[in-house]
């Protein structure tokens, strides 16, 4: 069987995701983040705001918040992707120059809490491609920091190795 068949959608998505991550690792020393709120309850925003406070201090790791998507490398999206915010999210995504990545933050953005209906999409990855997922309700600033460091490749992710089976020998 020849191997020059065109790539399938999933393979293509995986390759482009990997390329985005590699590109983003170039920004490991200095990354600009733009937050987009697609209808969240603003508790995730409170945790995000704490990142700039002295205890967590994301600036020491080289991350910065920017108000303009034109200057951003990473879009941090919260909220269950309310349909009324489609315009906002898609415009912000289009306005962010490549290479860029999207980090979806919070249980709402990952599909939890609110199911899909005619007012909300339910999950951010139904609107824009998401590269890093950070669960939590809200994710603590430590979880957000870990998400950012995983995004730029400075930390490996740990959740793949996590097992929720306490009676299994592989429990950490």
């Amino acid at each position: 069987m020849s191997n020059d068949a065109p790539m399938l959608e999933d393979e293509l998505a995986a390759v482009s995701a990997r390329l985005r991550r590699e590109a983003l690792s170039v920004f490991g020393r200095s990354l600009h983040i733009r937050t987009v709120d697609t209808g969240s309850c603003a508790v995730c925003e409170s945790e995000i705001r704490l990142l700039a406070a002295p205890h967590y201090d994301l600036h020491r790791l080289g991350f910065f918040f920017t108000p303009a998507p034109r200057h951003a490398d990473l879009l941090m999206v919260t909220g269950p992707a309310v349909r009324a915010a489609d315009n906002l999210l898609l415009k912000a995504y289009a306005a962010t120059p490549d290479p860029k990545a999207v980090i979806a933050v919070g249980a709402c953005a990952l599909g939890g809490v609110y199911p899909e209906d005619d007012l909300i999409h339910g999950a951010v990855d139904r609107v824009v491609p998401v590269d890093i997922f950070v669960p939590g309700c809200p994710p603590s600033p430590l979880a957000l920091l870990q998400g950012l460091l995983v995004a730029v490749g400075r930390l490996g992710e740990r959740v793949s190795a996590l097992s929720l089976d306490l009676d299994d020998g592989r429990l950490r």
Partner: protein, 670 residues
């Protein structure tokens, strides 16, 4: 050489007379073009004459006529050289502009006739050699300009504007006649050169009276505050080339008159003349630009900006006179050079801007800044030329406005060299006021360029603007002149130095231009810069990033997302800044000056404004008209009312007057 110059001046006048007569055939396209061609030839002659006169540095005298009509003396003096150059450039630019701007027809015929005659009259003012010739030329120029303003007399506001123009022009003319009368009687001659030679015969009080009357009289024409109220009314209503002629040249004739009196006819006046002149100039500059910022009509805005620049020129003249009176003759001559240089500069770029305002008005259908927008895409060539003019008038390097304002500041900042502390402080305060106007001017012109040209069109007519068949050559010529006058400043200043030497007798070439094309303000250890090298440096500095970009930009296709607007669902052109909002910080800061009258009408008391539109009306109070002119007019009217019974129309009463006068004459002459 002097014969050549005289010949060129006569040729210019002849060409413009030819243009005036050809204009009578302007009902057809050929007549329009023929008239323009004659005017262009005349403009070229005048420009060359002015340049040669400046470079040559000495003038000549002609006598014309004789016999029963009387002779008229024409004197081509170096002081008039920059203005003759300017009239040439303005006439040439207007000639290139005219055929595509005017429609053929009887109105255009009449207009071009009076316009070209006005050019001849202005030239005559500049070369008049005796008092009568000067006054005749001056008054003809004023009347012809009045007719120029009345081109579209049937439109609203034009008649009133023309009336204001002619009324204040006449008051100024009376004062000029008075000033010349004082000089003529005191020196016993009507010839200007003789008056200049015998000016020491005019004694103290008469000297000051003559100078102050002349300052006021010429101030009416120049547009000095508080004599300026005709300018913002009259300049906008004339056609674009007429406004350009008025703002570019005619107000400079007022400046020429003040310079004539201050430096030639009454040289060596006391310092307080200079300080008063400088004070009026500084006040005009600040008030001019402050009122300009409140204007939404592009041409009214440019008219107020002319007042501001006249203020700058007159400040330079006044400070020059003050420095000379305190013995700092080098700086005094330097400031005279600055005044002449800025006159030419302003003439060039203001003409350019008025011509482009005419193009915008014809292309976009409106002069209202709040309805324009996005013209940089619809009118690209106009946008580039207008940008050059705007950068020049905002005094940004490396163009001509920057050089002349830099020189003005360097001259004013040397006020510490004056022994009198009060005068020194006043000069530096004037410098501070001019600096304030400089900052406000940048704000004003960022607004005047950015609102019409950038952003999105704010009205349908602006969105449909087209550059098809719009004049380009005339404004382009002036843009080239701006660039040359800026980068070639060392050349221009060499010529102006000769002019100043002929006028004040002092040659400051060594303290003005040093090797390496550098300009210094009359003192070697104070300041200096080279306009030419600065321009080269700026080009190099901007070229480097451009070259890096061109070499290193990505080869692939680039993505063009829509403009980031914050995620608004529907961005409308009405959401943009308007000219009114752009000037809001200045409006709020200077509210005690504007004393605005504000009307606010809401459809309902709903604080969110949901129930209907809100009407907001902001009106600047015209303080000069209200507090200066109206009381004077009221006094005159009251006096006229009181005197009315004399003109009762009763023949018997008139016979009584005759009888009384005969009795008095008999008593007096016996």
């Amino acid at each position: 050489m002097t014969h050549a110059i005289a010949g060129l001046v006569i040729a210019a006048a002849a060409a413009w007379l030819a243009a005036a007569t050809t204009a009578l055939a302007a009902r057809r396209e050929a007549g329009l073009r023929g008239s323009a061609a004659c005017a262009l030839v005349g403009g070229a002659c005048a420009a060359v004459a002015g340049a040669l006169l400046a470079i040559h540095g000495s003038g000549t005298t002609l006598r014309l006529g004789g016999g029963p009509v009387g002779a008229a003396t024409f004197r081509i003096a170096p002081l008039a050289a920059p203005f003759i150059l300017l009239i040439g450039l303005v006439a040439a630019a207007n000639a290139l502009y005219g055929p595509r701007y005017h429609e053929t027809g009887a109105g255009t015929c009449a207009y071009l006739l009076v316009y070209h005659l006005a050019l001849v009259a202005s030239l005559a003012v500049l070369v008049a050699g005796d008092v009568v010739a000067f006054l005749v030329a001056w008054e003809s120029m004023a009347l012809l300009c009045y007719l120029v303003i009345l081109r579209h007399h049937q439109r609203t506001g034009v008649a009133r504007a023309g009336f204001l123009f002619i009324a204040l022009s006449e008051i100024g003319f009376l004062l000029i006649v008075l000033a010349f009368a004082i000089l003529a009687t005191q020196t016993g001659s009507l010839d200007l050169a003789t008056i200049a030679a015998r000016s020491h015969r005019v004694s103290g009080a008469w000297r000051s009276a003559a100078y102050l009357t002349a300052l006021a009289g010429f101030g009416f024409k120049a547009g000095l505050v508080p004599f300026h109220i005709w300018l913002p009314a009259a300049h906008p209503v004339a056609p674009a080339d007429g406004s350009a002629f008025l703002s570019g040249l005619v107000i400079k004739l007022g400046v020429y008159g003040i310079a004539l009196f201050g430096f030639t006819l009454l040289p060596g006046g006391p310092a307080w003349w200079g300080l008063v002149t400088m004070g009026l100039g500084a006040a005009s500059a600040v008030l001019g630009i402050l009122y300009a910022l409140m204007e939404r009509d592009l041409k009214r805005f440019l008219a107020y900006s002319s007042i501001e620049n006249i203020g700058i020129i007159v400040t330079a003249l006044g400070a020059g006179m003050a420095f000379t009176a305190y013995g700092q003759r080098a700086i005094g001559t330097f400031l005279l050079i600055v005044a002449l240089y800025h006159s030419v500069n302003h003439g060039v770029y203001k003409t350019l801007l008025f011509l482009e305002a005419g193009v915008i008005e014809h292309a976009a259908g409106t002069r209202n800044l709040d309805q324009l927008g996005g013209l940089i895409r619809r009118l690209p060539r106009t946008a580039v030329i207008c940008l050059i003019g705007t950068v020049a008038i905002a005094a940004l390097p490396p163009l001509n406005g920057f050089v002349s304002e830099w020189m003005l500041f360097q001259g004013l900042f040397q006020g510490f060299r004056i022994p009198s502390h009060v005068a020194g402080i006043l000069i530096v305060v004037a410098g501070a006021l001019i600096a304030l106007t400089g900052g406000l001017a940048i704000n004003a012109f960022a607004r005047a360029y950015g609102i019409p040209f950038l952003g999105m069109p704010r009205s349908r007519t602006a969105a449909r603007a087209s550059e098809h068949r719009q004049p380009v050559a005339g404004p382009a010529l002036l843009a080239g002149a701006c660039v040359f006058l800026g980068i070639g400043a060392p050349l221009v200043l060499t010529a102006l130095d000769r002019v100043a030497r002929a006028t004040t007798g002092l040659d400051i070439r060594a303290e003005l231009l040093v090797p390496q094309l550098t300009v210094i303000p009359a003192h070697t250890d104070f300041a200096g810069f080279s306009p030419t090298y600065l321009a080269a440096f700026l080009i190099a500095v901007t070229a480097v990033p451009i070259l890096i970009y061109l070499a290193g930009r990505p080869r692939g296709t680039s993505r063009r997302p829509p403009v980031w607007d914050g995620g608004i669902l529907n961005f409308k052109a009405r959401m943009q800044y308007t000219a009114t909002t752009h000037a809001n910080p200045v409006r709020v800061t200077f509210e005690p000056l504007y004393r605005p009258h504000i009307d606010l009408e809401r459809a309902s008391d709903d604080p969110a404004g949901r129930s209907g539109p809100v009407h907001y009306r902001f009106q600047v109070t015209p303080i000069f008209e209200r507090y200066l002119y109206r009381p004077v007019i009221w006094v005159v009217r009251r006096a006229a009312d009181l005197a009315r019974p004399i003109q009762s129309g009763d023949v018997n009463l008139y016979l009584l007057y005759v009888f009384i006068v005969v009795l008095i004459a008999y008593a007096v002459y016996e």
